[in-house]
Amino acid sequence: MIGGFGGAGGQPTRLMLALRDLGVGDLTIIGNVAGISKTTGYGWPDHLDPVDQGMFFESGQATKIICSFPVPGTTNPLSDIEKAWREGKAEVDIVPQGTLIERIRAAGAGVPAFYTPTGVGTPVSEGKEHRDFDGRTYLLEHALTADYALIRAQKADTRGNLQYIGTSRAFNPAMATAARTTIVEVDEIVEPGGIDSERVGTLSTYVDRIVLREAGDPLP
């Protein structure tokens, strides 16, 4: 799992680059707006070269992505995910965003499956259990877990409590709860008390490893 929303804010960009440099293969990526920033600039300041989850398909490390938004509206230039998909090198599982986040939340919350109205009457309903409640039809969707969650926060204390900033929350807090091992990339590590108890966004219980960015990192 790779946190954030899509765009630079909330994306664990340094962890992603490290994973790419590590070179491990046969990865399944779970993301959200996964591969449109590099070709469209989505969610990145103009003066930086955008990177996105397409990097794992460009490098050939990933063979599957589960996400809500794999490709941009345009095919010129072709994004890394669409290129890999066209070449038969990538399986793409497109999930409605609300269903995706709820599947991740459910995994962390010990809920194996849930019903949602989203997707009824569309291709995402194929093969899924339908059930009516109070006259409306719902689909059964299952929890989604992962071996690792790579997430991004502004600040961690030494126990692993996390504080987020602005819209950088997105998929990060839920992913922290849903993976077997959660690794967070932060700008700052503080002693307990350095994060106001009222502002803890993710509990230390969920966090396994903290990676501190270098001071003055030019990436958001």
Partner: protein, 236 residues
């Protein structure tokens, strides 16, 4: 910078009169937004609605990535990547704005708390089915928050061009493209018409036409059958 609304297109082909530009479509769609509503605007023409709110109307804008209550965007080159909207743009920090994670963001949507969503479309059917996430020929598309928004918002307005390349109908008897959500659209605002969808009676009701366009002109460019109840007004 507010885009000009006096831009007109054509007449193209055998159109009887010019079509409205994209900004004018957004302006017309914005006119019906009710003060105080919680609103989610899709990318493209829908997002432009924010530039044309009638005097005295203030909306609470929601974006899927976890922001409520944003207003204007930061100047180019000045935005904070940690204050983003769902279109990947950077709004200014304003008092009363709220940030939250994607669980909460989709509780808001799936729970039926969004009053109005304005979206674009590839096809809309007579019964209000919406197709806007994949072109079958391409074989791959992006759903994002569109299925949740279309299925669960209290009101769904489509703001789009009436035809593809001025020719191919997008308002159809039945969608041939894969659906985003069935029977969800309440109103369609295009470059030549305003059409309400009476979902109970499964019919399209033409409310307004662009200047110089008649009922028959709009019908000729619409695959699904149109009807009227009372007078057809002029889009202004």
């Amino acid at each position: 910078m507010t885009p000009p609304t006096n831009e007109i297109i054509g007449p193209i082909g055998n159109d009887p009169a010019p079509r409205l530009g994209r900004a004018a479509i957004a302006k017309r769609a914005a006119r019906d937004l009710i003060d105080g509503s919680t609103v989610n605007l899709g990318i493209g023409i829908p997002a432009m609605c924010a530039d044309f709110l009638p005097d005295g109307v203030e909306l609470l804008y929601h974006a899927e990535n976890g922001i409520l209550g944003f207003k204007e965007l930061s100047a180019p080159g000045e935005g904070d990547p940690n204050i983003m909207d769902a279109g990947g743009k950077f709004p200014k920090l304003v008092p009363g704005m709220a940030f939250f994670d994607s669980v909460e963001s989709f509780n808001l949507i799936r729970g039926g708390h969004i009053d109005v969503t304005v979206l674009g479309a590839l096809q809309v059917s007579r019964t209000g089915d919406l197709a806007n996430w994949i072109i079958p020929k391409r074989g791959i598309g992006s759903i994002g928050g569109a299925m949740d928004l279309a299925e669960n918002s209290k009101r769904v307005v489509i703001a789009m061009e009436h035809n593809v390349r001025g020719d191919i109908a997008k308002i159809v008897e039945e969608c041939s493209f894969p659906l985003t959500a069935p029977a969800c659209v309440d109103q369609i605002v295009t470059d030549i018409a305003v059409i309400d969808i009476d979902r109970e009676n499964k019919r399209l009701v033409l409310r307004e036409t662009a200047p110089g366009w008649s009922f028959d002109d709009v019908q000729a460019r619409t695959e699904a059958e149109l009807s009227t109840t009372g007078e057809v007004g002029e889009m202004v």
